[in-house]
Subunit: 515 residues, 2 copies
Amino acid sequence: MRRKSRKRAQRNPDTISRLGWRRIVNPYPPLDILSADQIEAIHLASLDVLRDAGVKFFSSRARNIFQSIGAEVDHAEQMVRFDPALVTNTIKTIPSRFQVNARNSERSVEFGGPNINFATVGGPSFVSDLDRGRRAGTLTDLKDFFKLVHQLEIFHSGGASPFEPLELPAESRHLDKYLAAITHHDRLWMANMIGAYRARDALEMLTIVHGMTREQLTEKPVTTGNININSPRQVDEAMSDAMIEFAYWGQPVLVTPFTLLGAMAPTTMAGALVQQNAEALACMVLIQAVRPRSPLIYGSFSSNVDMKTGSPAFGTPEYVRTTLASAQLARRYSVPFRSSGPNASNAPDEQATYETCMSIWAAVMAHTNLLLHGGGWLEGGLVASFEKLIIDAEILQMMALSLEPITVNRETLAVDAIADVPPGGHFFGSAHTMERYEDIFYTPLLSDWRNFETWQDDGAVVASQRANKVWKSLLKEYTPPPIDQGIVENLNEFVRRRKQEIERGHVDAILRVSR
Amino acid sequence: MRRKSRKRAQRNPDTISRLGWRRIVNPYPPLDILSADQIEAIHLASLDVLRDAGVKFFSSRARNIFQSIGAEVDHAEQMVRFDPALVTNTIKTIPSRFQVNARNSERSVEFGGPNINFATVGGPSFVSDLDRGRRAGTLTDLKDFFKLVHQLEIFHSGGASPFEPLELPAESRHLDKYLAAITHHDRLWMANMIGAYRARDALEMLTIVHGMTREQLTEKPVTTGNININSPRQVDEAMSDAMIEFAYWGQPVLVTPFTLLGAMAPTTMAGALVQQNAEALACMVLIQAVRPRSPLIYGSFSSNVDMKTGSPAFGTPEYVRTTLASAQLARRYSVPFRSSGPNASNAPDEQATYETCMSIWAAVMAHTNLLLHGGGWLEGGLVASFEKLIIDAEILQMMALSLEPITVNRETLAVDAIADVPPGGHFFGSAHTMERYEDIFYTPLLSDWRNFETWQDDGAVVASQRANKVWKSLLKEYTPPPIDQGIVENLNEFVRRRKQEIERGHVDAILRVSR
């Protein structure tokens, strides 16, 4: 499964060296920080929460589905409560592994087990770079961001819309985002899960891309979509309905409670995990109730707030531990796992870097199957930064290669080569070196390893400023991925028609097609 | 063993919050990236290297010791070769765990097993900060650095002389460094291992500090010292003789081959590990030949060079993997392990941060007993940076707390507290939160979690610039650790006498005392 195609480091310093596409597998056991007994205690406590306190679902569709499988539903209070056995029996059908198919089949990825996939940021309204500062996102910026995603093959997914093109109408701009993603990069991308119609529009466009009927979707996942639970214990209508739509068509939903310790969840890590788990289980039940065996991913977004100010914090020791423990809960249910690469910094600086590094090593040690927000996230998720995208790509490239095994055999042990170099000599010119030197070590995307004097004479440019040059060079080198022009025409026609419907108020017209 | 005394976060923003002193234990299994068979293949190959190629020792004292235990010594070529059984039998007496005693016994630390200890940088000639730039080290700067070490309780050791006070005479400035370390912080510090006399001066001063006879040293380690092998396969006279001196007095030596892949070692990671292991084993044999059961630490400093320029690189995927594999080799021999927290950046920037983060997570996953160069290292080790010291302290504090267990019990599971907060409500004012909120989360040393607008209005200060303010505030808050004035007088008298001896050319006079 693992494929190597690292791009050759060029002598020309203006050519940016990048790691080639690869599927990443963590060959080592996950880092389990809780005992089996502790995991069971959290599991059982979350079943208590589901039985006694319950979860509020604003969506009548969701409540009706819950009622149909025997959950206790109070429509007046919009509350749903669950018998423990109903929960444990219903979630048994969740697949432990599945593939999601990209339009370029070489970019399809697998979720579950030790597979690690990296995705860029999703959700911000703002975009920033060091030249133009922090500003509202636009479609032009978004296309540039997608071009960089295409260039940076360490990313397995273009994320959940890196930022909003705010100049476009809110009701229909998801169509412009989808079209830009499809035509500017060849990686997976994630649907917008605010309302069933936006989820369904993504699926319709992907049937065009893949040349499938919509009925074939249920056998072939082609995208993912993230829903956030509005913790504590509350799921809004737009998210529920998008989740139901995805489940109906067999597309994987990332079920992610938003449990900031001290604000939307208890201050204790165990308590936050109980609440997160209860909220996730409720949605997992819903998805399986809609379509047994529909794929899904257990998501964690448990971090803490600063108790003095209420500000959210990320990459903290609390974040690291809830991520590792959450992955164990997902494994308890044999369900793929999602975490993130966030930070709370306001600039692509040293804080942004170390908080992200903490988030990423926790994710990789946890066997995170989908690292969302792994490229470009700043300001607790309010901003997508072009420079941070480059810094993150470097970190992720290094992390990916750190998981590669060391080859131990007669040639690599090099006993004769060691004997051939005299004490105090060097290996630069040895035959063993000459046979291997070209591609043997990691070639960085961003790091500058020149000595101080050379670096100073060249302007003393620090890494965040170099990242600015790197993304501009990558944009210049960009060529779009090939795509059948007939497909593009059909997509354009679909978008044009849907925008008309939406403009006329027939937002949900798409939902009445073939269902 | 584990002690908690986290300093209370203060409301006054000018007071710097720091994590209190603690012994750090990694409660999880080490990350083993090689199989037992692969470790055995590296072990056996390194024995082949020791038998056939051998190691060059410039020191006749060292060669005579090797000869006395039956190694094959060629005095003309200065080469020493080893029968495999001689190696494996001689190293059996190395202790797997030992304590090193600080003058404040609460700051004593344990090496071996899952104990993790953090030390600051050692070795640079230059010092830098954002106000005064990069410059030659001075004793005044060194004292400031030691004051910060005392303030930052995350560091278990003040390192191996963070940088050289270059204005002082090279032959005697180790005395000034030792005295400054003893009087400015209460943590361990490491002796200068260039020549037996510098090593011995450290021990003499520590007998004064601890009120011990020099004979009692062999029962009570009070310091450590690092020796580097001048790879490939060469140990200089000054390092050997310091190593022998430490072994004679039962003080732990860090045995660290300097095996940069592609320059001083083969390009293959397996080959570099073979060479590192052979070099380390030769010195481990020497130490045990001098005094069986003398403590020592297996050190790794295997990274790669940039094959295009020859520049050393750190924190790379190669560095991560050789660190993890080297720790396995140390465990193969039941010997404590040392690695580092280096980077190759020229500024305390994002590159310095992510390369250091990669080094540190590898170290912690490897069960590194002593992380040398864990605070302040820049420029591949040429510079000690005040700002980087603060950035590193923040990373290490976060890493230490990430290893704390999650408490799972009825109170922390918080089922009732979860039920008490209505759907969509918040936990800020809940009784469960109010009982716990003050100290429950990590309070950062450096991170700024305020929102963008507040941060911008306050000057948009990025983390490296904030680090500049933090170290200056910590210096202002500094009060020296208590020390008996009689001890200080005796130390001053010793330093005065030794400086006279050294000035008169009687550098080695100290070695003739009681031996």
